[in-house]
Amino acid sequence: MATQTKAIPNAPVAVRRSEGVWRDAWKRLRKNRLAIVGGFGVLLLAFAGIFGPMLAPHPYQVQDIAAVVANGNEPLPPFQDMNHPLGTDQLGRDLMSRLLDGAQVSLTVAMVVQLVVLFIGVPLGAIAGWVGGRLDTYLMRVTDIFYAFPDLLFIILMSVAFRETAFGRALNGVLLVFVAIGLTSWVTVARLVRGQLLSLKETEFVEAARAIGVNDRNIVTKHLLPNAIGPVIVAVTLGIPTAILAEATLAYLGIGVQPPRASWGTLINDGVNQIRVYPWLVLMPGTLIALSLMSFTFLGDGLRDALDPKLKGKQ
């Protein structure tokens, strides 16, 4: 070393607080009122899904026949009897308890589907983008095939095909449907990660990492994927409403959650024939589906705006 620097003890050092990407994004997200409202909706759904059984006034499958008989053989309307705050269905089952049970189903579908998406989509996209060449072409052809598969048809067929196996019976038959939904939705994330890696692997920090001898695996997992994570978070958040919607649609068709358990889709299916007489039996689960879809969409949109550096300083 030609020059030597001597540290001066106790010298005042100008500390520049570094503003990381995440702190920056959080700042922008906080200013987005819709995203915050969406975030609260998501937290509320998570809370209801986790603590639902404890909050529920009754177990979801217990029939309070006496209450229905006392009401002239009609389901109790909401806000009439404090014992059943949101009323009951025709079998005397407490609607609030059933809605809370449905929240758990929706929360589970949101998580399981996105876990499947991450476990398949991120590795496949990363390998395709990093290795490139012929392997990339083959993997992208595989995504083409999954893309061409009609989603709902695939899910219905798969759930019927494996219904009798041990896997099909797991978690009352819902795990199979959730995994099937996940298998139809990972393509977007795989393409996204691939695209990100394709552009990121040409950057200087990768060259630098290579120059100091970091091996391929560490370059991908420690340098490339963390940089690609923003768009993935957005895609996963925006994928959740699609998954919840698919679950509700399938449940409405009688596929997935089996009675006496309830999902918001099955509740709608149960109530649709008497909608003229007892509209709340359909309107309440319908509203909850709508609110959770909206919450995730608002939050996802907000995250995209917050994490997208293109918009930096423009809004």
């Binding site: 598969f149 709902l152 359909v282 589906i289 709508a290 609110l291 879809l293």
Partner: protein
Amino acid sequence: MVGFIIRRVLWLIPVLFVVSLITFAFMHMVPGGPWSYEKQLNAGTINRLNAIYHLNDPIWQQYLTWLLGVLRFDFGPSFRYSDRTVNDILADGWLTTVHLGAMAFGLSVFVGIPLGIIGALGHNRLPDYVATAVSMVGIATPSFVLAILLIVIFSVGLDWFPSRGWKGPDTWVLPVVALSGYQIAQIARYTRASMLEVTRKDYVRTAHSKGIRNTAVVVRHMIRNALIPVITILGPILAFLVTGSFIIENFFGIPGIGRNYIAAIGGRDYSMIMATTIIYAFAVAFLNLIVDVMYAYIDPRIRYS
């Protein structure tokens, strides 16, 4: 460009082949067979039926038989309706399905794009809030819930439209609206975001500073550029509208091919399941191909090699 199209069309063949293979495998894993009626048939009858429909052949041979048939556009006999082939059933239904999908597509485009443009031009003012609210409702309401609400309001309540059937323009309204709700919202959101992006572009500022009238800037410079990304989602949307209509068909009792699918799985009508899946997969892949080609046509900067 021609080379690109040819390669993409040829690529459809392996895609459809793999889709048919997976469907065939899954379908034969489904427990029970086409003859599992509530009333048990005796073993001799089942055996004879199996022989007639080639179900005693090894599974690979059954697949080959099916594949050779499809190459001649023959989807085989239906396992449920002894007097009709799958081709007959599809011939009856496909026009209705395409009709429904095309009308819903038209409605989605002609409502969704203007809605998005209005929202962007009135950014953060009343028109924007109205347009955003409409598209939020569209995104958050599943098609079957929308269908229920439409029937309750316009069929039961106001008695404007019938709640079932497919016999004339008045029976078309509710299913088409129910099917397009989500897509209108999607298109509006994309258009709005894309228009807002374009508003900030230099060429728009240049156009304004040249003194071009505002309407001309909007129509000639902004909308034309803003619609390019919107076109990418039109392919999946059209594919969804044609293939995703089976819930609406079920709900409104519309005699399309989608309605047959759920019945076919329930009744293990093997040839019908295969036919609908393949046709839907073809529709999705083909429509995406058309969008890719259109994309290059509309945006001269895109070149496929």
